[in-house]
Symmetry: D2
Subunit: 386 residues, 4 copies
């Protein structure tokens, strides 16, 4: 019989839903020693809303005060799904209480905050993970596998676009429970922390550390009504951010993110070009990984040049990462499954003693790159990542 | 508070899993008066396997004898996920016991069987549905909406491919719990009932009744080891089936299905060409519906001819069918969600008194077309659908 | 120095232009012993139009009477770009005059006519070719090469769509110089001879002979104004034709063609599925051949299943058929180049004594399949190809 | 009767072929007052090669000394297809001799050189054009038309990739007649002048002037054998270049070019995102322009959100730029046609008195951006375009 793994989730917005769903589903599909139990949800919401959320998702209880939740003896794990500005305080408290902790990305408002958080969980010796869920799209995990198999060889280029279009209208407000991502005080940054943090996590996972960056940010809509105050206030987040990067391995990186690319909804792409081959991924078509095979990794020789071409791998075979757990070849999975994989890997890490990645220390690393980007955008100069 | 809707599922194979998952998830995402409760699962399996399945999916109990399950007072609904040859007997029993019933497709081994089943549920006055889940891919539901909006106009062509490649190897056996789809006694037919039944259901939903067909079937691998007997036995199902059709509305249809199309895994496509516009869908890319707009339905006038082109609709907007219930625009859902939608619509139908489609009567209709296909393949002649 | 190859072209419509262009260009790109010289053009047009055409394309002269052209001593080759109904008479005259001859497709109005034409050119011993130019799209020629390399293995399926949309409007007239393809008297058939003849030629080249067919044709617009008479007259050609086929190698074929597929302009596709691999081509994207590699032809072993996918070959490498003659890798060529390749191969065939294909005998074969299609559409029965 | 337009071409490499072909073809497809006559070709090649080239392309004569060619009275136009380092001297001489002049891109080795060249042709009052042929891909010209129609609205982003992979192998030499693009002395720069110059020309044509850039270049292979000396010499060109840009209209630009992107052959792409719509183009698929329509330009209102999607316009309709001159809808043209369009527009400009663009002054502008890129790559700082 699986052992219960008692979870308290803080936050019941978009991420609260994805995490609740993940804990509920993981035991249906993954054979683990632990079975998550949704013990309690906590959020700054009216009690009736909390109750309804608990009912919908099958939580045993709810709490209105997160301090109380963190102290509960019947809870093993705190899962943080709240806005960025609250992450540090919640993590420090959870660690102090000896709870293992999953935190939504970005880990913190700054690298300085993230340092404190890493120190706290490492001191407490508790399991910890930043939820960069896109590593766990099967096609992205497969990309890492192909890199490990030597299918890319010497890397030359890594390029990223993470494009959305949902804030173009000037009458979209900022702040409040639903639009805190547009409010600098709560979010810390705009697309840099929200979108590029994902891309940086994936990039360093696939292509190693970024050494230096030069960046430019822009805020296209300068003022928006704030939902907390009801007043028009300046927008201080970056609506868009583009940067050049040099990787430690000598390859060049171009990164761009925006919420002003009409027609792109969750267009989170990367391309890696190496001497032996290339890879391309787009989150709007998450069932595919595109692979250009130039050198055959088995023989080290060139593929016949009349049959080279980008190969569109429909990542739904049993041999593909995670896919054997789901349905049959050809049947796609979706966005929410990346969270299920996250929980499965996290629990597996706890069970085997090899912690799942990216842990908070890895999340700190991403934070340092984000800080460098913001600093470079301010100075107009190349900035090294410490 | 939601009323319990007590479900007994018969069958714990591939479909048993998809249905269990759907009942578990539907209340997390859809606001309904009823909340499904997984009361019991039943299958011809060793008790330890049944118990494990019940544990994994959260069934309250399990039964080894389906007759007992059907008689249980605490069960409202029988959900049939067993091989085709068993459908009729199970449906008749469930209807006799006054249970509402969902049956996997194809409804029956023949139209004659299906007639009996329709009579049974209609006499019993119980809710009934055939699980043609692909109607409920959001992009397919959107296709129906665009047809209803007059965006196709006079139809000329409807074409279908449903291609897979998983039975090419001659050492794939037939029969047993996992490969009964290759055994004529259990499956009734090959790709005709397994794959084309889906395509026919969708086709008639989008384009109206098929009047007549001429078909050709083929069995490429003539003998396979049978898992029940351990002996090499003739293969009698159709490995592939192609047919021409005339629709009642005067349009022409081409249909083809096979499990021998190397590289196609769940390549279930349709294209509808009309005077005003065209539509294309492919289940391997289920997040898209392709639409060619020629006449603007608002004005009835031609679109500017320098900006006409196939439009690739990423069917993940809030305005798209079902999508508001899930995540945010740009985030895809997958195969399993079609079953959740099925249960949601089915319960909604019960709650509103407007039964969800396709009910058994509609499933009978599809069965008649399948019968005509098989008859035509045998005779080499055009066959009318009665 | 290249030897002059003196050409007389009959017809100055769409095909007259493509052939004139091809003769003009071939010597710029292909090293041949012969250099085509445009000696004369002939058409049933006012002299001023003929003269303008001759000027535009650099013909040395023009003729108003094709009999005179055929008799001219200074002409080696007659190239027939006229409507189908005239082919036989022109070919018989050209052969009688000892001229080599290229004839636009379809070769004839019927297999009976084609038999006469084959007899005439074979008796005269003159070079002859039917201009099925799509064989000479580099991607299509590459498809043949991949078949020859054993990359498909045992074939199971061949499927064709040839879809256009240019005759949907009911106010498109029939007949005259520009729309004779809609007039049964001049064209012989509709999409069968015009479009499917191409598809059949390619299919038999790639997959061997078709043994039997069952077909259905339709005429959606029953009457159109005739440009010759100014009167509304019945339309007797097939607007659309679909047929099932069995190939001699045991594989199954589906073919469909129409001019009523809104949004498809020159959507001439084929897909071939075999045990070892699959191929797909679409004339709207002629720079690509899609190839699914399942068995490695070098080793006969399966490709690693985590890196299988449809490979999109951009057929512009030097190693690809014809491409070395043109520009550099990555630079596409277009529609007109297929005619240049045709002339190059034809002349090369004359020069080497190994005649280019498809010659008239091969064109007769296609005609027999077309005749069988039309017969089957009339009878509703399967028809064998003699 | 068309007036002769007597052309002398200098250079018989890749560009010499594309220009010769364009002059030969233009009169077959475009109705102009002038008809180009290939009077002479000149190149630093053995006489037998020159003669063979002249024969192949139908030049009346050849010259071994460009000074003699420039002085010939029977020549109206000098067309410069030689390596970059020679452009200035040739242009100055041609202008001094009163010849009109077309020069391959990039116009010069530097903005300083380009200034002299502009002064020379403007003083001489001769027609002049830089051959940025990709403006004249019909899909790119259509992009400009859609911008002009107000279909983009306020622009936010412009992004470019121009990726190739042909210099990855370290045994590719530099210099000589075929590989001068890798030799800094002859080429001036690497991908910046060769590839990005195209992208910049298109970008400013579609989205207005670039104000400032920050760039990074890299040379991956540090030494290559030089074909002139036979010795291994340092490679000084940029193998790859990436830069960020701010446009005068406030939109952000990302640009990247390389010859080290395995699997990309002539992957010259741009995407423009605006409030009203977006555009995407890729030179490997030149028959398409992708358009996302958000606001209907006719009404200024939002398109129904359930039918928005990227629209793949097959740019082969009669209504599309240049296409009426060629074949019929659905039939593609290729790379070489962009040069034919260039000559057609250039002659039309001469005939109408409205010079075709980009003239040398426009080419100077592109050169200034290239200079700023190289300067920024050296300094690591943002550089303004003067």
């Amino acid at each position: 019989m699986a052992k219960p793994f008692n979870v308290g989730i803080i936050g019941m917005g978009f991420m609260g839903r994805t995490h609740s769903n993940a804990y509920r589903k993981v035991s249906n599909f993954f054979q683990l020693e632990h079975k998550p139990v949704l013990k309690a949800v906590c959020a700054l919401e009216p009690e009736e809303k909390l109750k309804a959320f608990a009912d919908t998702w099958g939580f045993e209880s709810y709490e209105t005060d997160w301090r109380k939740l963190v102290e509960r003896k019947d809870i093993d794990q705190i899962d943080i799904c709240t806005p960025n500005a609250t992450h540090k305080e919640l993590v420090l408290a959870a660690a102090a209480a000896g709870k293992s902790v999953i935190c939504e990305k970005p880990l913190a408002m700054s690298a300085a905050e993230a340092e404190e958080m890493v120190a706290a969980v490492e001191k407490a010796g508790v399991a910890n993970l930043v939820c960069f869920n896109y590593r766990r799209v099967p096609a992205v995990t497969l990309a890492r596998q192909l890199v490990d198999e030597g299918r890319i060889g010497r890397p030359f280029h890594y390029r990223v676009n993470y494009l959305q279009d949902w804030t173009i209208a000037s009458d979209v407000p900022q702040g409040g429970a639903t639009l805190w991502r547009l409010d600098i005080k709560t979010a810390g940054s705009g697309v840099t922390g929200d979108l590029l943090a994902h891309s940086i996590d994936t990039a360093e996972w696939l292509n190693g550390p970024i050494q230096s960056v030069v960046a430019k940010t822009e805020t296209f809509i300068k003022e928006r009504m704030h939902q907390d105050t009801g007043k028009v206030e300046p927008v201080k987040i970056d609506d868009a951010c583009m940067f050049l990067a040099m990787f430690a391995n000598g390859s060049m990186g171009t990164f761009e993110s925006t919420r002003y690319a009409r027609g792109r909804k969750n267009y989170n792409t990367f391309e890696l070009n190496g001497e032996a081959g290339s890879l391309y991924f787009n989150l709007e078509d998450p069932q595919y990984l595109d692979y250009f095979r130039y050198l055959d990794p088995a023989t080290g020789k060139k593929v016949d040049s009349h049959v080279t071409g980008w190969q569109r791998i429909h990542v739904t075979n049993s041999e593909h990462p995670y896919m054997k757990k789901w349905w049959v070849p050809g049947c796609t999975i979706g966005y929410e499954h990346t969270f299920v994989h996250t929980i499965a890997d996290y629990l597996h890490g706890i069970e085997t003693g090899t912690p799942a990645q990216p842990d908070f220390r890895s999340g700190l690393r991403t934070q340092k790159v984000c800080d460098a980007i913001i600093a470079s955008a301010a100075s107009g100069k190349w900035v090294d990542i410490p």
